[in-house]
Each structure stands twice: as C-alpha cells, then as structure tokens.
Amino acid sequence: MTYQPQKDFGTPESRSDEAVSLTIDGREVTVPAGTSVMRAAAEQGTSIPKLCATDSVKSYGSCRLCLVEIDGRRGTPASCTTPVEPGMVVRTQTPQLAKLRKGVMELYISDHPLDCLTCAANGDCELQDQAGAVGLRDVRYDVQATHLGQEKDHSNPYFDFDPSKCIACSRCIRACDEVQGTLALTMESRGWDSKISAGLASDNFLGSECVSCGACVQACPTATLVEKKVVEVGTPERSVVTTCAYCGVGCTFRAEMRGEQLVRMVPYKDGKANRGHSCVKGRFAWGYAQHQERILKPMIRKSISDPWREVEWDEAFAYTASELKRISDKYGRNALGGITSSRCTNEETFLVQKLVRAGFGNNNVDTCARVCHSPTGYGLKTTFGTSAGTQDFDSVEDSDVILIIGANPTDGHPVFASRMKRRLRGQDGRPGAKLIVIDPRRTDIVRSPHIEAQHHLPLRPGTNVAALTAMAHVIVTEGLANEAFIRERCDWDEYSHWAEFVSQARNSPENLQPVTLVDAEELRAAARLYATGGNGAIYYGLGVTEHSQGSSTVMAIANLAMATGNIGRRGVGVNPLRGQNNVQGACDMGSFPHELAGYRHISDNDARSLFENDWGVTLDPEPGLRIPNMLDAAVDGVFKALYCQGEDILQSDPNTAHVSAGLAAMECVIVHDLFLNETANYAHIFLPGSTFLEKNGTFTNAERRIQPVRKVMTPMNGLEDWEVTQKLAQAMGLDWNYSHPSEIMDEIARLTPTFAGVSFARLEEAGSLQWPVNADAPDGSPIMHIDGFVRGKGKFVVTDYVPTDEKTGPRFPLLLTTGRILSHYNVGAQTRRTENVAWHPEDLLEIHPVDAEDRGVKSGDWVKLASRAGETTLRANVTDRVAPGVVYTTFHHAVTQANVVTTDYSDWATNCPEYKVTAVQISASNGPTEWQEEYEALSARSRRVETGIAAE
C-alpha cells in the first residue's frame, strides 16, 4: 500500500451515548453528542481545511481556516470549536468560505519559506496540503518583516526544531500539555514576537524538560518539528502496524518504511494500550536494530578463552546439538536447561520451553520474569486465582484514587504514566483523581506540573509489607472495610482471620512507624483515602516484587483491594506494571519450571497428558530449576549447559560474581542474542538473533493484551528467532515443522484454555485481544473477576512482616535500591546503542545531601559503592529525592554493573532477587575497582573474533 498518514478527524472523539443527526453538505450524518462539526464532517468523509486542529488535542480555534456556514447562525463559525446540534445544516464549501480561507492561507504563506521542494516535509505537510485545498495561487503581500531565517535547534538527537517554519498553531504545546503531560513547551512572548520555546529562552530542546516523547513532532503540521531521519532519508512510502518491543505498556506503532529501511515509528491512534502516544524509546530509540555491533553470523568456540570463530548456520546447529547431546550423555539430561526471554515473542518463548521440556527432557526452563514479576505470579494466583493484572489501561480513566507502590511509571512505563497523569490532572471540569505514592524516593509523579500526590509515604526500603499491613489495620479498625463485597466475593473465615491479625495493636501505623519510617498520621490518612475515596486502583512495579517479601507484598496489595471492594469493575483493580515488553506473555507461555502454559502445574496429570499427547513425548512431572538454582547447580558441577535466548543474566541478575562463577562452570553456554552481551563473555556458542522489526509473532502486555508483531524487514541475520529454535530442535532430532508463527499460536491455543480463542486471524480482525479469550469471552476480557474471582472465592492471606536478612551496620550503613530511567531499557543493550545516551550516558548514584556531606562527596565525584557482595565505582548525584540513609542507582550500563553489589537474598516464595535492598557503604574513589578492571580485560579477551587470513 502507498503511504498515507493516519486519518486525522480534527478533534477528539466524544464518548457520549446520545446520538445527534445533522446535515453536512447535503448529507445526513449521525454522531455522538459533543462531537465537533469538524469531526462529524470528517467521519462522513468530508475534509474541512484546518491547521490548528488535530484529533489528539482539544480544539483551539485559532487558525480560522476551518470556518463553515451553518443555517440560522450568523457569520462563519470555526467548525473545530462548534459542537453538533440536532438538525443542524452545515455547508463546508461556499464561495464566501473559499474567499475567507484563501485570505487566511495567503497570510500564513506570506511568512513561510517557499522551499517546499527541498523541505523534509514535502508531500507530508499539512500547510502545503491546505494551500492546495483552498486553491492558493498567489501571495500578494510584499512582506518586509518575516520570521524567516531563524536559527534551527538541532540539539535533540532525534528531531529538529526550525522556528522559521512555525505557524504558531500551538499544536506542539497542546500535545505536550494534554497528551504527554510534561508541559515543557510554551509560547514565548506575544503577538508578532510569539515563538515556541522549550522552557526558558535560554533552553534548547535537549537541555529543557522535554522528554522527547515525540508528541509535538507528531502534532506539528509543518516541518517545524521534524524527525532527523526524515530529513536524512525522505518521507516514507508504506507503513506496517506493529507492537513496540520496549516495556510492558505495549504501544502500537506504524513502522513507516522506505523499501526495507525504517524511516520512523509513529504511534498508532487505534492502539488500545497507547491511544496514539509514545515515549522516547519506542518512538525514536530503534537504531540498535541496524547497529554495527550486531552479530549476524553464528559463532562457536571450544573454550571461553579462545576467540570466536564464525560458522555457517548449519555448522552452528549441528555443533550445538552435538554439544547438548554430549553433555546429556555424560552428565544426564538434568544437566541441561534454558532461559526464555521476555523480549521475544510468545511463539518464540513457547518454543524454547517446549525445546527444554520435550527436547532436553527436563523442566529446567525459567525466564527473566524470575527476577522481576515472579512474585506477581505467586501472589495473584494465590489470592485471586490467576497470575495477571485485573484491568485494561483504559480503566484508569474511571479511577478516583490511584495508589502507586514501588513503581516509577513516568520512567518505567511512560506512555501509561501520561494516561494516568491525564486522569490525575482532571479534565473538562471533572476533578482529577487523588494520588498516593508509596516509594522510598520522591519519584517524578509525586510532584509534577498540575499534579501533587495527596500522600507520599517515603518508606524505608524493605518495609512494604509493614506499611501495607498498617494501612489494612486502619481500614479494618476504623470500620472502612467493604463487608458486603467481602461476604459476597471472598471467604469470610479467611477474611476474619486476616482482619483479626491486621487489627492487632502491633500492626498499627504508630507501632510500625519506627520500622517503616512513615509518619503514622500520614499513613492513616492515605489508608482512609484509598478506602473511602471512590474507585481505588493500585499500580505496582518491581519496588514491590524485588524484595525478600515480594510475594507477601503482592498478597498484601490484593488483601487491601479485596477488603475495600476495589476489584471487578472499571476504575479499580490490582495492576502490576510489567518491566519488559513480553513479561506477561513469557509467564503465560509456560516459561516457569513448575508450570505449563496457562499456569498449570507440571505435576497436574490432566494438563501434562494434554501436552504429552500433543507433543508425542513423556514429560517429567517434577518441577525443574529456577535461574538462581541453575547457577547453584552449575557451581556444584551438575548443571552444564544453558540455552539463553534474549537475556543477559550476567548484567541483569544479582550478585554478578555468583552468576559469572555459575556460567564459568558450564561446558556449553549458548547465547542467542542481537549483540555479544555480557553473558556472551562466558558463552561457547553464539546464535545471532533478530529484532522485533524482523519477525512475526505476538507480545502480551501488562493488561494481558495479545498484540501482533509484524515483520517489516528481512532479518539481517537470516532467520527469525523462532526459526533458530526450530532448526536447533530439528538438529536434535525433534520433528518440528512450523512454517509460520501462526501455527505455533494455533498449538498454544489448543493447549491453553485461556488462549482457546486466539489465532493470528482473530488478532488481525480485532487488532488485539486480552486473555482469557475463550467460549465464555470470545472477544477477550478487558477486566477480570467481574462476577467472582477466577479461583472462586477471593483468598485473604495473612502477611506478617519479616525483616530482610540484609542488614545495615557500621560497615554498610546505607541502603541501596536500584531502578531504571526513562531513556534506558533494562540492561541497556538496546538503548545504549542509540542516541538515548545523550540523556543518560552513565549510571549515577543518588545520595542525600546529609549522607554526601558526611562522606565529603559532591555531585559529579567518583565514589566507590561497596556491599558484602562486591564493589563498583560510579559518579554521585547529590539530591534530596532519596531519603537520608538511602542511595539509588540504575543498572543500565555494563561499565558500572550495579549487580556486582546486589546480593543473593531473594523472595521467600519465588527466589525473585532482592534488588531493592542492599546494605552498602559509599566512599571517595580514585579509580575503577579491581572487579571493573578485571572484567574489562575479560570482556576485551572474550569478544575477540577470529578474522581468518587477510586477502592481501
């Protein structure tokens, strides 16, 4: 198909149930009440000229181009600001309107460069289109003063700002305000001197508060704000709708292409997760896909001290299969295992776990969700009966109280954060939702433009359960529990037992204040607000799960939601914000060693025999090893081979020294990835991977939404990842013959009751589907537990606070907590290979001024960060965002390797590592630590590739 931008209806959709009929240019049209005349015309296929209107933002009525005539009305009202009325008769094309519009356009063009042929937006410019639409043929003004020739702002790595081309329509400002919610842009000065500005006049785009989400670029009707890539390669000629491969929000994009070259990723307005919005990662940070460091040929080596040797695919598969067989024969089948990736598709993940179960003959398969949301799986399955969030993202529009705990959505899940912030700001006279933030740090959402949390509870890291139990104490003892809901939906005896426990005086906010460091009155007020403020929705992230009581915290959250009746309808619920794009899917696909797809335990004879019959094998009924258990077994000398797809456990998993010892003890580490990542330093076989742009499949986002990933270019490495796994399986003698990922999904659907109604054809038709999709819910399930919990009765679980074993003391007096930043993703393997490093070139250590002063540390100083596990160096950022006694850093850069410092302690139920609490000491540093120096040398040695004999 040839390139067409997505249709722009001019003004936002009205949600009214009331229908209004009117006549536009002699044709009757019926639209919801509250629709603008402009949109009503667009819906019937009539295009009214416009410049300042676009359907992502509210109407503004400034350009005067969209004038229409309406019977019985004086003058020529702007169609963008005029709502439809019953029986209205509108004319959009009359000689009078043509004359007016031509006059308006003439004025615009009189102050606009006439360089259309060499302009980056040539052919994709609304100003150009409208000049044509109104028939402008001449500009009569002999203009002396213009805005032409102004200096361009090239500072943003992804887009340019050329003020000479600006028509001052304010679409960019309104997009920043209404869609993104950062309010970074403003109209500087007035009248003739009006100019779009990013912050102060002294700011450029990069130095401003702009988060580079791209909403302004998307809204700009001219080339004033334009992607550098469009400037470089020209406008696209076709587009393919696909799903972003960053974070669990799962934004839908149009990949806009020239041939096989990606020109830009444009957020898709019909995407149900993102509703036309994007963030800097999904919109712009895809350059890694063509990065020169991508490995495109398979490589093998006998020992990790040897250089790599490039081989053809056939040799790589034969060698890999022979190594796996050798190790299985020598050490037994349980010496093998695999790790599936939350960055890969459902189909690829399903195949890797199938290869392990059916090919390796054991259940030693795990996934990176082990180190992020495995406690969500345990906690929500125990309390509600299913391992997933309860709501769709749209639900937040009906929330009255939003409780965020252990999540930093503006950095980690920015597009959903924008939707959340829109609700927090209030809209069209509707007051905003109230906000409670429970987090050791003052995250951006605590206080940002037009948003201020009613309650920020800056608790001591590691005390989530105590804080939530104290909230439950307030709710129960002050009679705020929703007993009618509990009696109807939950087990009353279990509730009574739990209520008796939380009511004990030892669980009062006052009694727990010395533990949590949260002011008791503030906590009481927050609990009252959540219980009584209307629809209460809880959003949480890894600040909940990555603790020794991660699973308990998830259950404590579920207890609160059940106790207040905040489950089973729009606006409420328990919502885990998933870290990576397909964490939900990887869990759904049976990646955990104890569960088959659809969360059925491997010891369940009925479930297991379903798979055994389909696959023609006998499966081991015992659970396999989790990632940390694999590493322990490797150190013990009994686990010898690992197939690791799309994960970098050396950088992402805790206690790097232990991970490296485990990997070094294995005889065959197979890394299947885009780059020679850190884990590959210990690998014997490298299988090059494909990017999300190079393959077909599906991702499942945090709202259980299964979305298509569509191939837009040929894999540079020659094979899609599912093909790599299939060919490896074939080399091992397995009779696999999938010709397309749709056939893998068909298999998933026939083996997984919650996916029974899913197929590529259904996804093509519906755009996306939220599981369960089955006979009871053929169109999917936006909200779960509506009439009752999946497990029957909701289960209250007593969650007693147990302090972590990771203690501060004289040697390690501070608590380190780790997290992520907007511009980077996970271990940074992708985003570090993009221009996103402009915002975050290195990991920094946030430290409170008091702690910094005690140690003589200033912002920018190199400091040594040491724990019982190890030490690293990085630079300090002195800030009161963190409380005294708490320090914080990110884990995006391999040079820093924050996980050298984190420990082996983990969640009691799932072994999810306790990344969020490490006792540390900070001191001045005069250079890299011994570990850093040794590791750098190891990396240099390990990444050598044998180049063969030179031709000359």
Binding site: S551, H601, E622, L625, N629, A633, V638, D800, V802, W908
Partner: protein, 70 residues
C-alpha cells in the same frame, strides 16, 4: 553461602513467611514440593534438619517420609 546452606536459608525463610498459616508444616512442605526440583529436595533430605527452624525441619521430615513411602 554454598548450595546446601542456601537451601537451609530458603527453607527457613519459607517457614517464617508461612508461620501464620493454619497448618504451617503442611504449607511449607507443599511449597517445597511444588517449587523445588528433585535435586534440591534430595540435597536437603540428605542434609537433615541441622540449621532448620522447627517448622522447616518438620516440613522437610514430612516430605522426606512421603518420598520414602513411609
């Protein structure tokens, strides 16, 4: 911490967190049965109850007995 020490630590941690369950020994045994691979179970059975909390020790004994068919 070596692997056995880690298993002891994990078992104690499970027992502490399930202490408020109506039947903590059975709950700990069930948890370990559900999530630990056979080698981990074998290792802790072989290790015995040294270092285990009373609930964890009872749960491990329960599982070991069930495994031995007694």
């Amino acid at each position: 911490m070596n692997s056995v020490e880690r298993l002891v630590h994990m078992a104690n941690q499970i027992a502490t967190n399930l202490a408020t369950d109506a039947a903590p020994v059975a709950a700990v045994a069930d948890h370990i049965q559900t999530f630990w691979d056979p080698r981990m179970k074998k290792m802790i059975f072989a290790h015995g109850t040294d270092g285990l909390s009373p609930v964890a020790a009872a749960a491990i004994s329960l599982l070991a007995d069930a495994q031995n068919g007694s």
